[in-house]
Amino acid sequence: MLFSYVRQFLPEAEAPGLLVKIFSRLAGRLQEACNSTLSIYCWLQVEARKIILEHIGPGPKEATGQETDYYSSLLQDAPPEQQWVFRELFIYGHQKEDLARQLGKDSGYIDGLLKESLVTIGKRLT
């Protein structure tokens, strides 16, 4: 299950290696997963994303060809700006302030777009 989640962030060749790294880094933190307010699978996704973003590092990112898959696919009917904000924040781990600067808007505008994209994802999952 986690492999397809990892695939949305990385090129196909990198994903298996990073999956190994994720499991080896999270294996010693199972107690933390059990104590979390999230379910174990959701905790695993959140922690895996942190490791993936750490692996990718800051700066401009190359397209993996998988960005529109998985959670982003739930936004296919949403306005392009919402899709772009969700992708930049969730997939690439960029900061809201950086996106606001790129658009020439304030971070409240980005918050609004993110909120709308998250509500759409929540509804599409139903």
């Binding site: 299950m1 986690l2 492999f3 397809s4 989640y5 695939r7 994903a15 298996p16 999956l19 190994v20 499991f23 080896s24 294996a27 010693g28 933190r29 107690q31 307010t37 999230l38 379910s39 699978y41 959701c42 996704q45 959140v46 994303r49 942190k50 998985y70 959670y71 924040l89 969730f90 993110l114 909120k115 709308e116 998250l118 509500v119 994802i121 929540g122 999952l125 139903t126």
Partner: protein
């Protein structure tokens, strides 16, 4: 605060996907035990995300799980620390969170010196028992000898008494 407006703000999705800021996450965790409707929404979303993951799962390339198993086997058995910083204080604090469980094994546990004391006691008890049997037999033998001597005296002493 209206909890429904709070839920409609997309905070649950943001928290579950790991997009909430530390302040937003702390606020969410503070509200969670107080609002059953928030708990329901969280559990519902978690369930739907898991269903989504199952529907969209792609198996990893062959040999990936063996690599994961090998890597996990190489890990040390004991984690260096429980705290985020791995410091001793955080670890101690974490250990204090465990509930003390009473051992209900059917055996009693004693100090190792009790073993030597018990062996010594058993040896002394046997030595005293052997002495007691020996002296009892000696006493019985001496009593027999006394009786036989008295008997002989009575036999030999009768004419003396007659004079």
């Amino acid at each position: 605060m209206n909890i429904y407006h709070y839920i409609d703000s997309g905070i649950v999705e943001s928290y579950v996907l790991g997009l909430a800021s530390p302040a937003e996450a702390a606020e969410f965790e503070k509200f969670l035990p107080l609002h059953p409707v928030l708990q329901d929404r969280l559990h519902d979303l978690e369930l739907r995300l898991e269903e989504f993951a199952l529907r969209h799962q792609v198996p990893p390339p062959a040999g990936t799980w063996e690599l994961i198993e090998d890597r996990i086997r190489q890990l040390p058995v004991i984690s260096p620390g429980y705290g985020q910083n791995g410091n001793r204080h955080a670890r101690k604090k974490k250990l204090q969170e465990f509930i003390p469980v009473q051992d209900i094994a059917p055996y009693i546990k004693v100090h190792k010196y009790y073993r030597a004391a018990f062996i010594l006691f058993a040896l002394l008890w046997k030595i005293f028992l052997a002495f007691a049997i020996y002296y009892y037999l000696q006493y019985r033998q001496a009593e027999k000898d006394v009786h036989s001597l008295q008997h002989q005296l009575e036999k030999t002493g009768a004419p003396v008494h007659a004079q």
